[in-house]
């Protein structure tokens, strides 16, 4: 699956199927600091992701 990341903006390819929780762990990302968006929808950590899915992992932390 195609996974879009920010800070800096980049795209990585990850092999599915895989749960959201496992995807974050594999990329070494903390759940509390990220949202996972599949297509246009927000998904929870137990959602299964497949190779055809378009995923965005969006960081939620800002400087302020």
């Amino acid at each position: 699956m195609q996974v879009q990341l920010s800070h800096p903006a980049r795209t990585v390819e990850v092999k599915g199927p895989k749960k959201v929780k496992e995807l974050l762990r594999e990329l070494n990302l903390v759940v509390e600091a990220h949202l996972v968006i599949k297509g246009d929808d927000l998904v929870t950590e137990d959602e299964m992701l497949y190779d055809v899915d378009q995923i965005e992992i969006r960081p939620v932390i800002s400087g302020g």
Partner: protein, 312 residues
């Protein structure tokens, strides 16, 4: 995972509340938390005029959106700091939200551009006066929000500070034992003297992740990109550490910050309260008449220095 309330498919889980919600129930949860914050901290009522400080980021736009949907009279102010494309993009997001969402509620957006005021963007300004960009930015924003709130006679100023912001700031203050700052870390600061607007933080019960989720679910278009000046800041480091702890033990951030608030509220009133202390040391700036502890306020000092270095 299903919604704790209505059992349909959940879009977000909230480990710190032992809950998961669908979009509708999550919006209800967010509005509820803000309504609770407003009520329990005596922030404002339905008749009062509120000025929201918006930056184009998720928190402040979500705050404006929530207040309007809860039926409050909330206008907003955007301060354009002239940080290249970052400011251009955030300005565009704010304008779009004002036109698409806020206007239908009869709300107005005020604008202030730093470049017009000082003849230089924030980065140039900070370099000129040898101060870190983020603190220069903070001084300008605080000054302009207070100025507009007072001039346009708003009853209260609201900022988008969330649970993560407050917990990170508290951690920083505790790590350095800056006790004098702890007093001012409450979510509701009264207008202690004439010329200072009342300041409130209605989002202190919601985490940064919850606010980002609210923005995504409600199609609020915000600037995801980080302010280029904030990269590697201490605040970001504190937030990262707290989020690692939160992921391992959900509820850590709220226990830390809300626990602090509870302790503060139970404290025996000390000899001098913050308001009394402020009254004792604050008086009008000789140049602009906003309250200050010095003869000339830090904003006016900064502008004088900027103008002496670059005569225009």
């Amino acid at each position: 995972m299903n919604c704790t309330k209505c059992k349909t498919k959940a879009v977000i889980s909230l480990p710190r509340h032992n809950a998961a919600f669908c979009k509708g129930c999550f919006n209800g949860f967010v509005h509820d938390q803000v309504a609770r914050a407003i009520k329990s901290e005596w922030m404002f009522g339905k008749e009062e005029r509120i000025l929201v400080a918006v930056s184009g980021g998720k928190d402040s736009l979500a705050l404006w959106d929530i207040l309007l949907k809860l039926g409050y009279r909330a206008d907003a102010l955007y301060v354009n700091l002239g940080i290249g494309t970052y400011s251009e993009q955030s300005h565009a997001k704010v304008t779009k939200f004002a036109e698409v969402v806020a206007a239908s509620h009869g709300a107005t957006l005020h604008l202030h551009t730093v470049e017009q005021e000082a003849g230089a963007g924030i980065k140039e300004l900070a370099q000129l006066i040898h101060r870190p960009t983020c603190s220069t930015c903070g001084t300008i924003k605080r000054y302009q929000f207070n100025r507009v709130a007072i001039e346009q006679q708003y009853d209260v100023m609201a900022t988008g500070h969330n649970l993560d912001d407050e917990a990170a700031r508290l951690l920083g203050n505790v790590l350095h034992w800056q006790e004098e700052y702890l007093e001012k870390q409450g979510p509701s600061l009264p207008a202690s003297v004439e010329g200072f607007a009342k300041k409130v933080k209605p989002l202190y019960r919601l985490s940064e992740r919850e606010l980002a989720a609210y923005a995504v679910l409600n199609r609020i278009d915000y600037i995801v990109e980080e302010c280029p000046m904030a990269k590697g800041s201490k605040m970001l480091q504190y937030k990262e550490v707290l989020n690692r702890l939160e992921t391992e033990s959900p509820g850590t951030k709220q226990t830390f910050y809300w626990g602090f608030l509870e302790k503060q509220s139970k404290k025996q009133p000390t000899a001098t309260t913050m308001t009394e202390k402020d009254r004792a040391v604050l008086h009008p700036c000789t140049s602009c008449s906003q309250p200050t502890t010095a003869e000339v306020c830090s904003y006016c000092k900064m502008m004088v220095r900027a103008k002496t270095v670059v005569p225009r």
